[in-house]
């Protein structure tokens, strides 16, 4: 589903980062581990098309994203990739429900109400749908952002430190939801983290140095 080749990124006037090749298939999960400052998040942004690599290529769903125009890349990202960030960002003026639906709207992909209901039920956020984002706990926020990343059925879900601000209980909950749902929806899941707690759950790992 996603593979990279000779990926390097050069910060303007800063250090150059080069990454080992990544290859993840549908239903698979890859854990990318490294200490802070080793360029984990940069790699995630390169994979997600939020940054363009200096050299090398990222191929998702047989499309080399490095050669797409800005506008096409935006559209491609919306349709094929879902993000879960360390801190769950929301459009603060919209309800939780609208925030989840926003992803489908912006990607231009439709969703079925049954899927929506099933997904929110599975994530245990059905009762939160009418609330405003600022009223949710971090564990709840993270579960909502999983729903948002996955509802429009992307090919790839990229999670950036999804559990690092959560307690053990919520970490276990969020991690198992992420793993189960990506298996169920058949998406390739890549988690970037330094969270030791996840290492025991995911066997396929890539260590950055």
């Amino acid at each position: 589903m996603i593979h990279t080749k000779d990926l390097t990124y050069q910060y303007a006037g800063g250090k150059a980062l080069s990454y080992p090749d990544v290859d993840v298939l549908r239903g698979e999960t890859l854990l990318i581990i490294g200490h802070s400052g080793c360029g984990k998040t940069t790699l995630l942004h390169l994979l997600g098309g939020l940054l363009r690599p200096t050299n090398g290529q990222v191929v998702i769903h047989n499309q080399n994203t490095s050669i797409l125009s800005d506008k096409k890349l935006d559209t491609f990202r919306g349709q094929h990739i879902g993000f879960v960030f360390q801190k769950a960002h929301f459009v603060q003026s919209l309800t939780i429900k609208d925030n989840i639906l926003l992803a489908s709207y912006l990607s231009g992909k439709s969703y079925s109400p049954q899927n929506f209901n099933a997904l929110t039920a599975k994530l245990g956020i059905t009762s939160l749908l009418g609330k405003m984002p600022s009223t949710l706990s971090e564990g709840e926020q993270q579960r909502v952002s999983i729903a948002r990343a996955i509802l429009h059925q992307p090919d790839l879900v990229l999670a950036d430190e999804p559990t690092s601000s959560l307690d053990d209980e919520n970490t276990a909950k969020v991690a198992s939801l992420l793993l189960n749902l990506s298996l169920e929806f058949g998406v390739a899941l890549i988690i970037v983290t330094h969270d030791e707690r996840l290492k025991t759950l995911i066997t396929q790992q890539l260590h950055l140095s």
């Binding site: 998040t41 940069t42 942004h45 997600g48 939020l50 940054l51 800005d70 506008k71 935006d74 559209t75 491609f76 990202r77 919306g78 349709q79 993000f83 960030f85 360390q86 801190k87 960002h89 929301f90 459009v91 603060q92 003026s93 919209l94 609208d98 639906l101 926003l102 992803a103 709207y105 912006l106 990607s107 231009g108 948002r148 950036d160």
Partner: protein, 427 residues
């Protein structure tokens, strides 16, 4: 969904939005009020001018003379001798001369003694009935008929002076013989009667005082036989000033149209210098008035535009301040597939939506203000503002929209240029 995002974002910080909206509304309302009122007053003054070249009346303020004789919104300067006035009317340079005698009113509407040519001056037409032929027959302007409800054949008494509470001339019945079509001009608000009616009512005052006239308080005469002779005299059905010879009679003003523009150069100077009357040139007086009013209007307009600028600034500050907290949601939306231009338009639309709302509310407030003006002072001036849109309001719309766009464009450009990866890493 897009509209929801824009709208929800605006009401997310309701105080910011309300402040901007209020300022926009206020500035639009003031400017619109000035535009509508200015245009309509100008039109009204212009139309009622009716190509009258010169007004002759008693000495005093020329502006007052014009306002009272031509527009009927000020008190008369006094009376002039009809004999003197006739001399001017007989001047070969004069094409038309129309005498006006006023001072009484009915329910706040002026009763004007004149000749039918006065109606022709304004192109007025009878809607129903006939023109007055005898004293105490009256023709009503359209507004008078509408607001007083008087109909053909109705009788009424005039009140002395302009006030509704003025002393009633109970001895004389005016009879409605005709109603005029609505003309949009000053005759709409007048009750027209032969000059003789006014003379009859105020007959006795002329005998007791040489300078007194229709404006003087009426004193009933002790000797009723005088009335009798006078009424006999009036039976001759005389309606024009030329045919009536009454050496001691007075009128309030004389409206004149000249055969040649040359007369404007000479006649006013001669009259002002050689008679105890004054001649005023309406166009000059109205220009003078407009110039004086113009300063006030310009000042108000400048204030309104300043408020509009502040409104724009307030829209700008509201959007710009929120940009910092909203950059995460913009980055988030970009990560979910939104293009740069969509984010740009979202922010710009907030400015546009505010200015649209401000414009609509401003127009509504302006119309409310006009309605209030109509209610408060419409009766005094017999002038009612029309609520229609004036063409200049199209410009006002464009300016308001521009302010909204201008205020939003810098925040929108900043959001457009947002570095998503950087923002998300910071978060």
């Amino acid at each position: 969904m897009i509209f929801k995002i824009i709208y929800r974002s605006l009401i997310h910080k309701p105080l910011n939005a309300l402040l901007s909206l209020f300022l926009l509304m206020l500035s639009v309302a003031i400017i619109s009020l000035l535009l509508v009122a200015g245009t309509q007053i100008n039109n009204k003054l212009d139309k009622d001018l009716a190509d009258v070249d010169m007004v002759v009346g008693a000495k005093g303020s020329p502006l007052q003379l014009v306002l009272s004789a031509l527009y009927h919104i000020d008190a008369p300067t006094g009376n002039i001798s009809k004999k003197e006035a006739d001399k001017i009317a007989a001047n070969p340079l004069v094409e038309t001369a129309i005498p006006l005698s006023y001072g009484d009113s009915y329910k706040g509407y002026r009763i004007v003694g004149t000749i039918p040519a006065y109606v022709e001056l304004y192109g007025g037409k009878l809607a129903i009935g006939s023109f007055f032929a005898k004293p105490f027959e009256v023709v009503l302007g359209a507004q008078v008929a509408q607001r007083t409800g008087l109909k053909i054949g109705d009788l009424f008494h005039g009140n002395h002076g302009e006030e509704e509470k003025g002393e009633e001339h109970e001895e004389f019945d005016y009879k409605v013989v005709g109603l005029l079509e609505k003309s949009g001009m000053v005759i709409d608000q007048l009750i027209l009667t032969p000059t003789e009616s006014v003379w009859d009512i105020h007959e006795e005052e002329e005998e007791t005082s040489a300078v007194a006239g229709p404006m003087m308080p009426m004193v009933r005469k002790a000797n009723p036989s005088d009335d009798h002779t006078d009424l006999d005299h009036l039976d001759h059905n005389i309606t024009t000033i030329e045919t009536k010879e009454a050496p001691d009679k007075q009128i309030t003003a004389l409206l004149l149209k000249f055969k040649s523009p040359m007369a404007i150069m000479t006649l006013p100077r001669i009259i002002n210098a050689e008679t105890n009357m004054q001649a005023a040139v309406p166009t000059l007086e109205i220009n003078r008035l407009m110039n004086m009013m113009g300063i006030g209007i310009s000042a108000l307009q400048a204030i309104a535009f300043a408020i509009m600028l502040i409104a724009g600034l307030s829209v700008f500050v509201a959007l710009y301040n929120r940009l910092k907290e909203r950059k995460f949601e913009h980055a988030l939306m970009r990560s979910m597939g939104s293009s740069r231009s969509l984010i740009f338009w979202l922010l710009l639309s907030e400015g546009i939506l505010l200015s649209l709302l401000g414009f609509i509310l401003g127009l509504a407030l302006c119309r409310g203000g006009l309605a209030l003006l109509n209610k408060v002072s419409g009766k005094d001036f017999h002038f009612y503002f029309d609520f229609g849109i004036v063409p200049e309001e199209g410009w006002l719309f464009a300016i308001t929209l521009f302010i909204g766009i201008f205020a939003a464009v810098i925040p929108a450009i900043k959001a457009y240029r947002l570095n998503i990866a950087q923002t998300l890493s910071d978060g």
